[in-house]
């Protein structure tokens, strides 16, 4: 069967002809599969897709995102998740089921301008995304250096099984919180390490579509590069808190890499 590995496409470009399954960012037109976004097209046994290189973050249920509190009503906080929809965090999620606006002061938990790591628990065509901070390692982000990148570059930044992000964290001795929505917070003891980590992240953002990126990142970080890249084993959940955050982002990517084949429409 014909296969396409890395074809650069713009909208309207014909990727391939034949009885292929359209996966995401493509449509079927007659006997051809057409790209609907600017990106890198791939076609194979599982189907045809385009990995987009631009576009804002469209929320997906179960994504872990980093959002900013922008307002609140008496029952929930409004959260900017760097998307075209504002998300909501119900006060009950933080205070518990017996939350009462008369008794409980929302400002005592979260104020406008705070950053939170949260998971999207509900989102569909008829309503705005709803968040929870109830899982492990979700909640207010107390400190760190704040960066925003294009959400389309997040998978590349995380890398296969988290390899790219782990390389950066380990060589700069930082902890990097990544939201699927492109918001990143870097913490570490050493400010030079943090600066280097930020540079590495920017490099990945700019060159996400190129080959041999891993090598260039490694040389920026001053890491020796064996010609074969061994992915580090994924840390188990009972380890230090750091690994759980990484775990939840890695989980996202792994699911993605699997689900890429199964999902119908992907941003």
């Amino acid at each position: 069967m014909q296969e396409i590995r890395r074809k650069y496409v713009v909208p309207g470009d014909r990727i391939i002809d034949g009885n292929f399954r359209p996966l995401f960012n493509v449509i079927k037109a007659g006997n051809s599969i057409i790209a609907t976004r600017v990106g890198i097209a791939e076609a194979g046994r599982e189907g045809v897709k385009v990995i987009p290189l631009s576009g804002i973050y469209i929320p997906r249920v179960n994504d872990v995102v980093i959002g900013k509190i922008t307002d609140h009503s008496s029952l929930s906080w409004e959260v900017d998740i760097n998307s075209c929809f504002s998300a909501h965090l119900p006060a009950q999620d933080v205070f518990g089921r017996d939350f009462s606006p008369a008794r409980d002061d929302m400002g005592s938990q979260l104020t406008i301008g705070d950053l939170i790591t949260a998971r999207i628990i509900a989102f569909d065509r008829s309503r705005d995304p709803m968040l929870t901070v109830q899982d492990k390692d979700l909640g207010k982000v107390p400190r760190g250096e704040f960066i925003k990148i294009s959400a389309t570059r997040v998978p590349r930044l995380i890398g296969k099984r988290g390899s790219m992000i782990q390389t950066i964290e380990q060589s700069t001795r930082t902890r990097i919180l990544i939201g699927q929505n492109g918001i990143i917070v870097v913490t570490g003891k050493d400010s030079d390490g943090i600066k280097l980590a930020v540079r590495a992240i920017r490099l990945v953002e700019e060159e996400a579509h190129t080959a041999n990126l891993t090598q260039r990142v490694k040389s920026l970080l001053g890491v020796s590069d064996p010609s074969r890249q061994e992915p580090s084993p994924i840390p188990k959940p009972q380890n230090v808190q750091k690994n759980d955050e990484l775990q939840s982002s890695i989980q996202g990517v792994e699911e993605e890499l699997k689900e890429e084949v199964e999902e119908g429409e992907r941003t």
Binding site: Q2, I4, R5, R6, K7, Y8, V10, P11, G12, D13, R14, N25, I27, A29, I34, T36, R37, V38, P52, L53, S54, G55, I56, I58, C84, F85, S86, R125, S126, T152, H209, T210, A211, E265
Partner: protein, 246 residues
């Protein structure tokens, strides 16, 4: 409009030296407005137009949102210094009409059902106008929309044809627009082969009309190559030559 003087000389050269089938020089750069989600700058003849796309984004006021698809808003506006005589910054009736036909030229290609309850804003700002600014604006807007990562079925390319000295010519310039026999702007989806904007100012016989249509479409296909190149250049840089593989 009936012509009063000859606009094509004995050698077949037009007022700007072009032949009847030549496009003016086009240059398109994608991603020029830092704050925008997508943008493009086009120079088409002496037209200088910058387009910025914001979206999909939240709709304000909320009651304007549509439940099943995205709202597309398009604004064509000319800066006061863009024309020969200074133009008042307030929107004119011409700008209002052009905003509408532009939106209707772009809408067929966008997959708006993918972004319910959101809005996409397309702002077309003419910094210098030179005949055919609506076509140049649509051309740049299409690049800006692709730059913003909005899902679309095809790119939209636009070009005008017209009648000058009883000949059908491609891409009318400012003088030909003001003094010539007919002006037909057209927008076209090059892969789907469909027309999304068509207007006519002037007098054409049926045969002339059909010739004009064909010529404008040919022009659109030429314009498409420049649009595609602009996107490839921004996203894939020098690699676009090396890395395409089957």
């Amino acid at each position: 409009m009936t012509q009063t003087r000859n606009l094509i000389d004995e050698n077949g050269k037009r007022t700007d030296g072009r032949t009847t089938d030549e496009l003016r020089e086009i240059r398109i750069t994608a991603g020029v407005v830092k704050n925008a989600d997508g943008s493009a700058f086009i120079e088409f003849g002496m037209n200088k137009i910058v387009v910025a796309v914001y979206g999909p984004r939240e709709v304000h006021p909320k009651h304007m949102a549509l439940t099943d698809r995205c709202v597309l808003r398009c604004r064509y506006h000319m800066s006061p210094f863009s024309t020969d005589t200074r133009k008042n910054p307030a929107p004119s009736r011409r700008e209002v009409e052009i905003s509408k036909v532009m939106r209707e030229a772009l809408e067929p290609t966008l997959m708006l059902e993918d972004y319910p309850r959101a809005a996409i804003d397309v702002y077309v700002e003419v910094l210098q106008a030179d005949g055919g600014s609506r076509c140049a604006g649509i051309t740049a807007a299409s690049v800006a929309l692709a730059d913003a990562g909005i899902s679309m079925r095809d790119i939209v390319s636009a070009c005008a044809a017209g009648k000058v000295d009883d000949k059908i010519v491609l891409d009318i310039n400012d003088t030909e627009d003001k003094e010539g026999g007919a002006d037909m702007p057209l927008a076209y989806m090059p892969h789907l082969e469909k027309v999304t904007l068509l207007q006519l100012d002037g007098i054409l016989t049926e045969e002339e009309f059909n010739k004009c249509l064909d010529k404008a479409i040919k022009g659109c296909i030429m314009v498409y190559e420049v649009q595609r190149q602009a996107l490839m250049q921004k996203y894939f840089g020098n690699e676009s030559e090396l890395r395409e593989e089957q």
